[in-house]
Symmetry: C2
Subunit: 252 residues, 2 copies
DNA sequence: ACCTGAACACCGTTCAAGT
DNA sequence: ACCTGAACACCGTTCAAGT
């Protein structure tokens, strides 16, 4: 009964898409997947993914740890439901008709998503997550923006993937820089580091380090720099797309 | 004695760069950081990061769990040492003088690194890791390739970062696709999925899904596709760089 | 069929003890 | 100062029991 043939959808997809019919018989259920996932997301938003334990989630709902296992097979399943929940995704308004502007808006939206829920960066990735509601909605919107571009479906997917990983990586960078800002290496430490990161061994990086243009001295303007770097890399990718598009327009 | 003022380097950097002098007095040490890190990497390579426990690492060296705490303050410190160890990085040969070719070689090398040690994708990121030996060596080489490009230091770092995250993301994708290949949704499952991922709700993605151009049916050619997509995104980024370079060459 | 309390196996880490 | 055994707090998960 639990395994319905080889062609069945993974349980977690059934749950996420609302296809999972609760059992007919027996006492009324005290919980449901939506409440559990929402509670878990709240905890992760507030205290990080490490704070999401089965115990803490259950108790925040007024139940015992073990009650969760009536709704979720393992903790990994819960994490996947969190990641794929549309609950976590802010609504995505209409995107600009100009593909370049639209893609930038789309990338900004993805970045906002990771900023809103930094724990998304830590959820162990699953091959299933691209089929969860949140991902499907995002991908669909992104594909829509690229309609006027002369690209194959596969290339469109590659762009989506590039932008997604690009945005998420930059949120991770922001987080790391924020943490690094509190490191504040003293001149003592920099001298010690300069003793091993020498111009002889690292001719290109050592000058940067000495000049404060590398990690270790991101004291001022760090936030702004990340902003600039995000736009820079994004523009390079869009430039590349435009060049490809122009070439194909010319030859087609 | 353990805290040497505010200007001191983080302990893990001292260890990684070989600046950590072992205590003079007392019995001979049975272990050293290098052996511990190497043992941990071997376990992670073979059985994944989840298999790296203090117990397993210690026992693989013939010691008890607790002995490790003479060398490493916490498990997180051990993970960081693994990640930043040059042990894990295959030697990087000389790169082509043509910046485009060189950057492609560099990106391939980074990708090879993640393929060799997939657990690198799972190590919780630390702001310190960019100062560890492995990262410093990689970044230095990457900066060297970009010497002929008309870019600021900051832009060069942005490129390095983009390529790194790009390469690592693709290795993650490969891994996920390999896992997804064993999912093999049946026609039953696809029909069920098609009931919620409808053309009405997802006009751009639904046709892809129905046509097998999206996850869920990556049975054949999946590996090859990833190869194509990697080159595609990389070329777009390099195209963008070239355009920027050409523009500046013209106006400078 | 739901929810619960007790129990299990397994973590990382602390501490007091031996040498 | 090294290594060890015992112990602690905390996980995820299983199971038998109550309703």
């Amino acid at each position: 009964m639990t395994e319905r043939g080889e062609g069945a959808l993974p349980r977690v997809l059934e749950i996420a898409w609302g296809l999972h019919e609760p059992p007919q018989r027996g006492p009324a259920r005290g919980l449901d997947h939506e409440r559990i996932v929402r509670a878990a997301i709240e905890i992760a938003d507030r205290d990080g993914l490490g704070a999401v334990t089965m115990k803490r989630v259950a108790e925040s709902l007024g139940f015992t740890t073990m009650s969760l296992y009536r709704y979720v097979a393992t903790k990994d399943e819960l994490l996947l439901l969190m990641q794929g929940s549309e609950e976590a995704v802010p609504p995505l308004g209409p995107l600009d008709d100009d593909w370049r502007v639209g893609l930038r808006q789309w990338a900004d939206h993805v970045r906002a998503l990771y900023r809103l829920h930094p724990w998304l960066l830590e959820v162990p990735p699953s091959e299933i997550s691209v089929l969860m509601p949140a991902s499907v909605a995002l991908v669909d919107a992104g594909l829509g923006v690229m309609l006027p571009l002369r690209l194959t479906d596969q290339e469109r997917m590659a762009v989506i993937l590039s932008l997604t990983t690009y945005a998420s990586s930059y949120v991770a960078l922001e987080r790391d820089l924020a943490a690094a800002g509190q490191l504040e290496f003293g001149s003592d430490a920099m001298r010690r580091l300069g003793g091993v990161i020498t111009p002889e061994r690292f001719p290109h990086l050592a000058p940067l380090l000495a000049g404060g243009g590398y990690a270790g001295a991101p004291a001022e303007g760090a936030g702004g720099d990340v902003e600039v770097e995000f736009a820079f890399g994004l523009d390079r990718l869009l430039d590349g797309l435009e060049r490809l598009h122009d070439e194909r327009a010319g030859s087609g």
